[in-house]
Symmetry: C3
Subunit: 307 residues, 3 copies
């Protein structure tokens, strides 16, 4: 879990993924020799801050997003949301501006229309446009791991674990997922036009709800705000049953993922969201059960072989 | 109207269009010999559940969507909307899960926030992710046809009627229209890049409103939530006047169609929504006047020749 | 400012940009001989009502939108918004229908749900689908210019001023920006695939707010509803500092531009919104300080050279 802890600690809110890109490229270069197969690494100029790893003769691509929710500092330390952070007042936020490190506290107040407004409590005015993220506090016991940004550093971690033994397939690290998307369109274009890949698995973290619980297995989402193509979904569920790996079927009305971006792209992609569930979504305390993490890695390994 | 009745009875909510695809491919194979011209039939692998018929040297494409609104079964027979169904409690819903046919009744209750929540009233728990659609009840008299899913089985029916005598043009059957789209992007890509087609007519069903009434002709929509390019719209209205076919000009603030998806695609498509109006939109009782249906077929035949 | 006045007076709400296209093509043909370099002019068939000017060996494209907000006439002189006009009752509106010129007044009334509904006060029923825009009233003094549609006729004007001396770069005039977009996707496709251009500057007008004031320089937007890629933004801010041209850093939670459309396109475009701020957004009285206009032209000239 050392790698997961490192990933959780990197400041990379949507739009500012570059530190994560640097870390990940370094990590891959330093570790890929121990992987079963060597991928082609695609990044740089035409891929903005994204990274694509191509193994063998791929038919399916894993998507994991590198960005997190957070805040942009506006005028007079006013805070504007990046994506949908749900922290309560008192949460610790960190960032950096021209005057140095910022380590501050979230204030929340109702304005005259009863809307919550957010401010950074800090001893000086922070530069306009500075990005702040939750101060990492990684916790681990026998059953759970807990930290800000399990969503989606754990999805990235899963993708890297799968990459270690992958023979054929693509692993894509995307950007801007938490704030409306913006990279999946050109990733889909590349995968479809250059590699004829049009099947995707969305390696992301979902919610503990009435129907999805800790330690009941990885969640296979049958729908959220987006609806995947049923014939693809059925193939995945059949394979999941065959695999004997513990899984739960999720059916939600809300929420979305890089799957929605794939669906809106002008390429005929099938997609399905598969991920461990977490408590305390988009707060500093996202919490996931270790058995569900194991099931997540297992099912991805199985599906990347058989799909 | 036998074909229309058959189309209305097929279970194919957004995302689960595959039964409609199978029916339509069969229908085309069994009937195309009686058509004036034989189209190239494009479907399969790179088109998901869509079907494209290419006749002669096309300049204009008809789009009709195969999917309908409906419900996904969540946890404990809770229902989640697919698209925007508007049925009242007591509506009959049908589907099928691992234990067999489902024939149930829609319950609607206000939750603590006064939001309506929907449940399937059935004698057992239905499998998670099962899709339900309105139980078909096709009614016909001298003036009207009425059933669930005139939107857009009647639009499909119109497209097939036009196909019977079409010389040059494309007929496209799309998916996911009722739930945010997802196929029109790649259909547009194919039409534009492979066939240089960039004019579209949206064969869909609209609403009876203050300005649009039964038996006053097919509606040509000047706008809804989307705004078509005015010069294209003007050409269509001029041709409609020239044709002497009864039509009504529609101007709405809301609603959308595959036209919006064409507009958002990265291809320079012109589009215009043209369709008969219906009462009781997105309920089991969608009702359309036969004279408006006739005008719809007539104007499509005319426009596909002259546009 | 004669050209700016002319641009402000052209009726070209979203979807009906064709008069602006004609004017601009004429203007370019009549004036380009006095420009430092001659662009390739791309327009017509595959570009709908858009115009693209390509100078030399471009790396960066300016986007300015030709359309404005306005109203579509519905049934019985009811008005439906095109984009988000914010005029108060009594505003003067103009257009033209089959019976001649329309010069009318905006009425606003609350309906039974306390929603504002809008009507055109005129002595006859206006044709369905007629488009209305604010009656132009161009005002100028030593410090300010004021008229409807500074957004984005001033952005166009800036793009034309920059074109006069541009060596390498693209100037794009887009459509539908005020109403959900629809042209930027295929413009991005052309720029990326044909010219390998993937950097954009959005030449548009922003808002005077708590943090952005008249006569404090051109605004460089660090974010609005969309978040540009940080590494691109940082390069621009560094160049702006180096240039010594007066600028203000803007951080907003709402609003959007052609930048959002570029981000959602399946091409890896970097974008940044840079423009003078105005008072009275989307009303007949949009007001901009002349020093901010000068700074806008200066910074575009500088960035198009150094970016």
């Amino acid at each position: 879990m050392k790698l997961l802890k490192q990933l959780c600690e990197i400041h990379a809110p949507a739009g500012s993924e570059y530190k994560m890109t640097d870390f990940l490229l370094d990590y891959i270069k330093n570790n890929q020799r121990s992987w079963k197969n060597q991928p082609e690494i695609i990044s740089g100029d035409n891929f903005q801050d994204c990274i694509v790893l191509v193994f063998g003769k791929p038919t399916t691509a894993i998507f994991a997003h590198m960005d997190s929710v957070g805040y942009t500092v506006g005028y007079k330390n006013n805070l504007i949301k990046i994506g949908g952070p749900s922290a309560k007042k008192g949460a610790k936020l960190v960032g950096e501006d021209s005057k140095g490190k910022v380590d501050c506290t979230l204030l929340a107040e109702e304005d005259e229309h009863q809307f919550l407004t957010f401010t950074a409590d800090f001893d000086r005015e922070i530069d306009r446009g500075t990005t702040l993220t939750f101060k990492p506090d990684f916790r681990e016991d026998d059953d759970f791991v807990q930290c800000s940004y399990m969503d989606d550093r754990l999805g990235m971690w899963n993708a890297i674990k799968v990459a270690e033994s992958l023979e054929n397939g693509v692993v894509s690290f995307s950007t801007w997922e938490e704030h409306g998307g913006g990279s999946v369109g050109y990733l889909a274009k590349y995968l479809y036009e250059q590699l004829n890949v049009k099947q995707a698995l969305i390696s992301d973290i979902t919610w503990v709800t009435e129907g999805i619980q800790h330690n009941k297995g990885v969640a296979i989402s049958m729908r959220d705000s987006g609806i995947p193509r049923r014939t693809y979904l059925n193939r995945i569920i059949d394979l999941a049953k065959e695999s004997k790996i513990p899984f739960q079927l999720e059916v939600e009305s809300a929420g979305g993922s890089d799957g929605n971006s794939l669906q809106r792209s002008p390429y005929p992609f099938d997609w399905c969201f598969i991920g461990a569930p977490e408590d305390n979504v988009h707060t500093p305390d996202e919490k996931v059960h270790k058995n569900d993490i194991k099931a997540m890695v297992d099912i991805y390994q199985y599906l990347m072989k058989h799909l």
